[in-house]
């Protein structure tokens, strides 16, 4: 079973990458950009046929390793 996980920085956390990208874009003439924030993306495949069990596993993987819960949020989607 396959899932995608998106990890994003929490609202009040500084996003230096997003900021530089935004500055660069406005330097090269993209003025309509309002905001851009950068995060991570994972594609996870798991040997498990029961969806709710699988989802629980992925959730655990996120909380234990993939995500720094102090500064990041995450979202899981089945794909």
């Amino acid at each position: 079973m396959k899932f995608s996980v998106t990890v994003t920085l929490k609202k009040d956390v500084l996003d230096p990458q997003g900021k530089v990208v935004q500055d660069t874009l406005s330097n090269i003439g993209f003025n309509s950009l309002k905001s851009i924030r950068q995060g991570k993306f994972f594609e996870i495949e798991i040997n498990e046929t029961d969806q709710s069990k699988a989802e629980k596993k992925v959730n655990e993987i996120c909380e234990k390793l993939l995500v720094n819960l102090i500064i990041e949020n995450f979202k899981i989607n089945k794909i």
């Binding site: 956390v13 500084l14 530089v20 390793l65």
Partner: protein, 225 residues
């Protein structure tokens, strides 16, 4: 004084810190990350480098290693812990120190000599320095942009938990003298009990006149006291 240096796959300042510790007469041991027992030590050092390639987030994977559990136990019972650069990142990932280290402000790796100011000189790590003394140190990192929430920041400032701040040659702390965008120019912090220090600059690179200078020596000699 007994010290232990924890070695992760991808650590690369482990030898450098060992050389500095031995030069300062510490009895040092290297501890491989797969070991489950930590030798009895007065000081644990988590060295700089790119543990696990800094993949995922710097320090994240090392923060999950077996030996780290032992480090946490020792730290909680009062053992002195020093995390330098990647070691600082690992300490924040384990929660031993609060806050986090984000990408540098301009997204580039920075290696250069910078200046830092000794903010608290009353700890086991800093008592040989003068208050507000300006030190020339070397930084080398991609993710040294210290960030924390406003509440913790206030706690750091109020309880004198900031070890060093970036400054210029003359000691001015401002945006120009901030190499990586760290909040309030923070270069190193203590935990509330002040037995754990995390810092981005590399004191072990400043113990030999032929190579650089000796501004790092007093950090180690403070620890010997």
């Amino acid at each position: 004084m007994k010290s232990s240096v924890i070695v992760f796959p991808g650590s690369n300042c482990d030898r450098d810190i060992a050389v500095a510790l031995e030069k300062m007469q510490f009895k040092n041991q290297m501890v491989w990350h797969k070991e489950t027992n930590l030798p009895k030590s007065d000081l644990i050092v988590i060295p700089g480098g790119f543990s696990y390639g800094d993949y995922l987030r710097s320090g994240a994977i090392a923060g999950k290693s077996k030996i780290i559990g032992e480090v946490i136990k020792a730290a909680n019972s009062g053992c002195l812990v020093l995390g330098i650069c990647n070691g600082f990142q690992i300490l924040t990932e384990t929660g031993l120190l609060k806050g986090t280290l984000l990408r540098n402000r301009d997204l580039k790796f920075i290696n250069k000599d910078i200046h830092i100011k000794v903010i608290n000189n009353k700890t086991n790590f800093s008592l040989k320095y003068k208050k507000n003394q300006v030190l020339k140190m070397n930084i080398a990192h991609n993710e040294g942009n210290y960030f924390t929430n406003p509440k913790h920041l206030e706690e750091l400032e109020k309880n004198n938990l900031i070890a060093f701040k970036y400054c210029d040659e003359k000691g001015n702390i401002n945006n120009q003298s901030n190499p990586n965008g760290a909040i309030n120019n923070i270069a190193g912090i203590y935990n509330s009990k002040k037995n754990i220090l995390g810092m981005m600059p590399h004191p072990e690179r400043m113990v030999d006149k032929i190579i650089s200078n000796t501004d790092g020596v007093n950090l180690f000699s403070s620890l010997l006291n």
